[in-house]
């Protein structure tokens, strides 16, 4: 098996995170290789969002190590971390409702100084999501859920990340829109973006993922390729709503 360090874009080792004495993550390890879609599935409260929050520096881990492109980023502040090329599409989208659609995209490029490049990228986003262009001057808070999710993805992409982390992009969206979001995700991945996807919708996530981990109450209980887990009888029973044969 190939586990050379340089191939792993992101590496999490024995990460422990606790909130007020309660351990949300009990020593988890995972790896995200360059160019792949890696998914982490698990039920509500399993600690999925906590993992992403600690990777981007919003939560300080108790112990363990997070390495990005060979560099230890454990416990750094968010500003330093996102500067390295990680970005987060947060759970519940959390676009800035009091900013226009255009401003939400611009703020995604907050750390960039190449004005022409930013403008080009905004144009690209508008090609990717034509709905957003129509609503360019609208306050983002007035968008529908699906449009807000597109905006959140666009905003994240505007920082020109190398690693895109998505937290429950399907949450609260209609099936048709979920499909759209997932196909866009695959498209971006084919253009070379590494994606760490966190999902409750295990079926969708496992279908697009190259590699998958299952998180249960703070521990990784299973891992494998997306296809492997899709076929796994325990996964089928617990996450895909199909009976064990």
């Amino acid at each position: 098996m190939l586990t050379w360090g340089w191939m792993k874009m992101l590496k999490v080792e024995n990460l422990v995170v606790s909130y007020g004495g309660i351990e949300a993550l009990k020593g988890i390890s995972l790896e995200v290789p360059k160019g792949e879609i890696v998914t982490l599935i698990g039920a509500n409260g399993a600690g999925k969002s906590t993992l992403l929050r600690s990777i981007v520096g919003l939560v300080k881990p108790q112990s363990g190590k997070i390495t990005y492109e060979g560099e230890d980023i454990t416990g750094r502040n968010s500003q330093q971390i996102v500067k390295k090329g990680l970005t987060l599409v947060p759970e519940g989208r959390r676009i800035f409702p009091n900013l226009t659609v255009l401003e939400n995209l611009q703020i995604g490029a907050y750390m960039r100084t190449d004005k022409d490049g930013i403008e080009k990228d905004i144009k690209r986003m508008y090609e990717l999501f034509p709905r957003l262009e129509e609503r360019s001057w609208q306050m983002a808070g007035t968008l529908s859920g699906g449009e807000q999710q597109m905006l959140a993805v666009g905003r994240a992409l505007l920082s020109r990340p190398q690693l895109l982390m998505m937290d429950e992009p399907s949450l609260g969206l209609a099936p048709l829109i979920i499909k759209d979001i997932f196909s866009i995700m695959q498209e971006i991945n084919q253009q070379g973006m590494t994606i760490l996807l966190i999902e409750q919708n295990a079926n969708m996530a496992l279908k697009v993922a190259h590699r998958a981990y299952v998180l249960e109450t703070g521990k990784i209980t299973m891992s494998g390729t997306g296809a492997e887990l899709l076929e796994n009888p325990e996964i089928k029973a617990a996450y895909l709503g199909k009976k064990k044969k």
Partner: protein, 306 residues
Amino acid sequence: MEYFDAIANMSALSFAQHMVNGISLGSLYALIAIGYTMVYGILLMINFAHGDIVMMACYFAFFGITAFHIPWYFTFIITIILTAILGVLIERSAYRPLREAPKNSILISAIGASFLLENLANYLFSGRPMRFPDVPLLSQNISIGGIEIQAICLVIPVVTILSLVVLLHIVNHTKTGMAMRAVSKDYEIARVMGINIDNIISITFIIGSALAAIGAIMYGIRYPGITPMMGVMPGLKCFIAAVIGGIGNIKGAVLGGFILGLGEILIVAFFPDLSGYRDAFAFIVLIVILFYKPTGLLGEKTTEKV
């Protein structure tokens, strides 16, 4: 009926006089109220020391002119800079260490900062009222069309509007302003966008304090008696102005400032008997407006996320 009699008995001239007074007082309230509303917008806290920042600005200007004999226009610029620094110092020492603490702690700290400034001023400058120096041109009375007004009364609204235009430009059309608006809605995600929250908060305090200094200088020229406690009542009223306008909303703060300033002057003008209740007016307006519109006149409905 009394109300109509009062209006009937008032000549057009004296009404104009009162309007000028009211507008200039309202402008001053507006300038100071902006500081409350901006800090609230970003930190969700009431900066109780803001009124005392106004007081300190008056003393800076007073000593610049009387003790150091710096020309008044230089003094005013230095005053604005010093006051902005003072605002940032208060934020760094009293509020920043409590960033992660419960909201009540930071509120108590703000009250502490307020008391500290008042007592420090009392100790350093003595409690004896001092007279804000006369400024050439601005302090003089001029008569226009039969009404006698102090020149500063004409300058105050103009300076206020200019300040507001510049402020709204910064907030709505610059990268920093965009970051300020983002931080005011979502701290964490703003951080993930790479925004340095501490810098944005400092900038907010710089702007709020600079506007307070501009207001303080004009206040000093208009109402020249300065004391260590002079910031308390205007501070309170401007806080109320920010609340009735819808706290967190800059235009609301300006609207609230004008309502209180104009209202206060006109009440006294129409009902001289009630002049003793002049300060109570602000509180009555507050109660009435919050009764009908709990989020203030221009405030948005907020749903607190649990």
